[in-house]
């Protein structure tokens, strides 16, 4: 029998209380999945979390199985206007102060909630989802372990003549053989000059001796994502420029590991890596953010980016650290691991 995650619910109820509310409406597909697991397709349900329980209105098809699987949820089937159905539930439950996230509702539904005097609180779930529970961290670590094991496997599997696509297929299939349900995003394999394009789409280039190899991949294990990038030289005569860039990128990565602190903003942590690469003279070649939040989704909020001055990175937030240097048409290097924040700095998820 499936059960609601009590740790996550209690985190959400804390925020509801902190905002001075009695209840909060959650209708975003991935937010509902975060609380219940993968039950619905997008747009099939609306959830109302209040201090005494959880109300849910979903396609009537689900009513019977949901009642059996989640006895703690008050379920009502409804095939039209689930926002109005939710308003009725609010009245029946005599809830006074109800919130919704204007960023997650359509204009049609938001207007219905607004008319009832519900409060619009944007990004309500961001701090909750960013801060992983113990169980979530366990799954994130297991997911990362599969990715690291896959990297070790690929190092011995690679040989001259294989294409980028064949390599990506081997990565994907090895991850699945080792317990992953799927890749967490489309695996990127870039050989030689292709590594110079940070948005490269895996192609048919064949591997030759003395080429750069960039692998960016991850998997989903028990609904949780991993994400790693490694760049290395295939062959024994690494180019001088490659060695120089690789050292700078790795040091920028290590600098973040050493210096990032709990409570710093995403922008402050981004500046550690960016500052290092700029000081080394490659600032304009580091063309993306230092990292992104990660969890059930490969890209979550609370990013390590220049524009994220508002969201501090708190305890148990999970994120990638992935500095890179790209010289178009020639070479590129990215080095990425995922971490979680602790009171005493960041720890690798592994």
């Amino acid at each position: 029998m499936a059960k609601l995650d009590a740790d996550k619910l209690s985190l959400i109820r804390k925020v509801i209380k902190k905002q001075g509310l009695d209840a909060f409406i959650i209708s975003d597909y991935s937010d509902i999945k975060y609380i219940m697991g993968p039950v619905f397709q997008p747009g099939e349900a609306v959830m109302l979390i209040h201090s005494k329980g959880v109300y849910l209105t979903a396609r009537s098809l689900y009513e019977a199985p949901l009642k059996a699987d989640f006895p703690e949820i008050q379920v009502e089937g409804c095939d039209v206007e689930r926002s109005s159905k939710t308003v009725q539930a609010v009245k029946k439950l005599k809830l006074k102060k109800v919130g919704f996230d204007g960023l997650k509702e359509t204009y049609h539904d938001g207007k219905i909630y607004e008319k009832e005097g519900f409060s619009n609180i944007e990004n309500f779930l961001v701090p909750v989802r960013a801060s992983k529970t113990e169980a979530e961290l366990r799954n994130m670590k297991a997911s990362a372990k599969i990715a690291y094991k896959t990297y070790e496997h690929i190092l011995s599997w690679l040989e001259p003549g294989v294409t980028e696509q064949q390599t990506a297929e081997e990565i994907d299939s090895f991850m699945k053989k080792n317990g992953a349900s799927a890749p967490s995003f489309e695996t990127i394999v870039a050989f030689g000059a292709n590594s110079g394009n940070p948005h490269y789409v895996t192609g048919k280039t064949k591997l030759k001796k003395n080429m750069a190899v960039l692998l960016d991949f991850g998997c989903i294990y028990k609904d949780y994502c991993s994400d790693i990038t490694r760049t290395f030289w295939f062959g024994d005569k690494p180019g001088k420029e490659f060695v120089e860039i690789l050292n700078i990128v790795k040091s920028a990565h290590d600098e973040v590991v050493e210096k990032a602190r709990c409570g710093q903003s995403g922008a402050e942590i981004d500046a550690i890596a960016r500052g290092y690469i700029e000081a080394a003279g490659y600032g304009k070649y580091f063309t993306h953010r230092t990292g992104h939040g990660i969890g059930m989704q490969i890209h979550e909020e609370a990013c390590l980016s220049q524009d994220n001055t508002a969201v501090p990175i708190m305890e148990n937030y999970c994120f990638s650290v992935e500095p890179g240097i790209y010289i178009a048409g020639k070479i590129g290097v990215r080095y990425e691991d995922c971490f979680y924040m602790t009171k005493n700095g960041i720890k690798q998820i592994k």
């Binding site: 697991g37 993968p38 039950v39 619905f40 397709q41 747009g43 098809l61 689900y62 199985p65 095939d79 039209v80 204007g102 960023l103 509702e105 359509t106 204009y107 049609h108 539904d109 938001g110 207007k111 619009n120 944007e122 299939s173 699945k176 349900s181 799927a182 948005h199 890209h299």
Partner: protein
């Protein structure tokens, strides 16, 4: 597959007929539909479509690719909805609208307060009649899924889990040219097939039980949707065979009423009658008969008893009757079909 502005042009003639000067489109599916492009996430791009042009508000990062692949879009380097309003004003567009059913609350509020009118359901309405280019992409997505089924049947072996079998099937679609999944694959073994929205588990396949798979892929941004149910192993139970034949017959019966000019609820109601005539089984048919699909997996018109729509030439819908017996098994048989002037064409075969 070549990207084109056919859908923008069709929409512009629709706007002319309805007296609309400009329409703001901000939801990801709506933007990808009109732009004929695959933006990755909500908020990556917005459109303002006027009678003459389509302005695309997006990140600089997409600019080079868009100029090459979608030259029919006029690019604006901004993702601020206030700039959409400003643009409409600078063009002196008077009757401006947004779709209240798909536009986000905050963007909708801004548009409404700036004098744009609500046009609820506008985008889903214009998506209903597919263009030739859309039809050819859906056909291709359907052909890939149908072919994948044959290969999957040959590769399926006892001992595999539902999760592994789903990933085997997905790999076959990708090898055949599928570009990602249309929705989460449903792979149900044994009694799990009785839940129409089963979540794949680590349950392993045994000889002599039911397998139900409901899946689809994308091609050129468009979805396919197909369900097959079969008996794995020799000597299917008599109950399974009898029910299977009945569900298939219900599917064939339904196709008689899936045609241009028919009420969209007609086919669903006929299937219920058919099931009732054959053993009072309609109460085991617990969902709608079908839905349309396109860039999204669920589009209007729906083939269910609440539908007020009339079917038209160029609609592409699923026809998916099923019977579900809790604790025992479920059977669903589904095809994606195209409604033409004269007939209905099964695309998933």
């Amino acid at each position: 597959m070549k990207r084109n502005d056919e859908k923008i042009k069709n929409f512009q003639s629709y706007m002319k007929r309805k007296g609309i000067d400009a329409c703001a489109v901000t939801d990801l599916d709506g933007v990808n539909f009109f732009a004929d492009f695959s933006f990755a996430g909500q908020g990556d791009a917005y459109l303002l479509i006027t009678r003459k042009k389509a302005y695309c508000f997006t990140k600089q990062m997409y600019a080079a690719d868009l100029k090459k692949k979608a030259p029919y879009l006029a690019l604006v380097d901004s993702l601020d909805c206030a700039d959409i309003v400003k643009k409409a004003r600078s063009l002196k567009a008077e009757n401006c609208v947004f779709d209240a059913a798909s536009t986000g609350y905050l963007a909708g509020k801004l548009f409404y307060e700036s004098g744009f009118k609500e046009a609820a359901g506008l985008i889903s309405e214009v998506k209903e009649e597919k263009t030739a280019s859309e039809i050819s992409r859906i056909k291709k997505a359907c052909a890939i899924s149908a072919k994948a089924y044959d290969i999957f049947r040959k590769k399926l072996k006892a001992g595999i889990s539902e999760i592994e079998a789903a990933s085997l099937l997905e790999g076959i679609m990708s090898d055949l040219g599928g570009q990602g999944l249309a929705f989460t694959t449903i792979m149900a073994f044994g009694a799990n097939s009785a839940n129409p929205h089963h979540i794949n588990s680590s349950r392993k396949l045994k000889e002599g039980e039911v397998v139900l798979l409901d899946y689809g892929c994308k091609y050129g941004g468009y979805c396919s949707d197909i369900t097959r149910t079969f008996w794995f192993g020799k000597n299917p139970s008599a109950e399974f065979s009898k029910t299977f034949d009945l569900v298939k017959a219900a599917h064939d019966e339904a196709l008689k009423y899936v045609k241009a000019g028919a009420a969209a609820k007609e086919a669903h109601n006929r299937v219920c009658e058919f099931f009732d005539k054959n053993g009072k089984l309609a109460k085991y048919f617990i969902h709608g008969l079908g839905h349309s699909l396109g860039t999204a997996i669920h589009e209007t018109p729906y083939l269910n008893p609440r539908s007020l729509s009339t079917l038209k030439t160029g609609n592409i819908v699923t026809v998916e009757p099923g019977l579900y017996f809790e604790g025992k098994f479920g059977i669903r048989y589904e095809n994606t079909v195209l409604i033409t002037d004269k007939s209905v064409k099964i695309l998933t075969k």
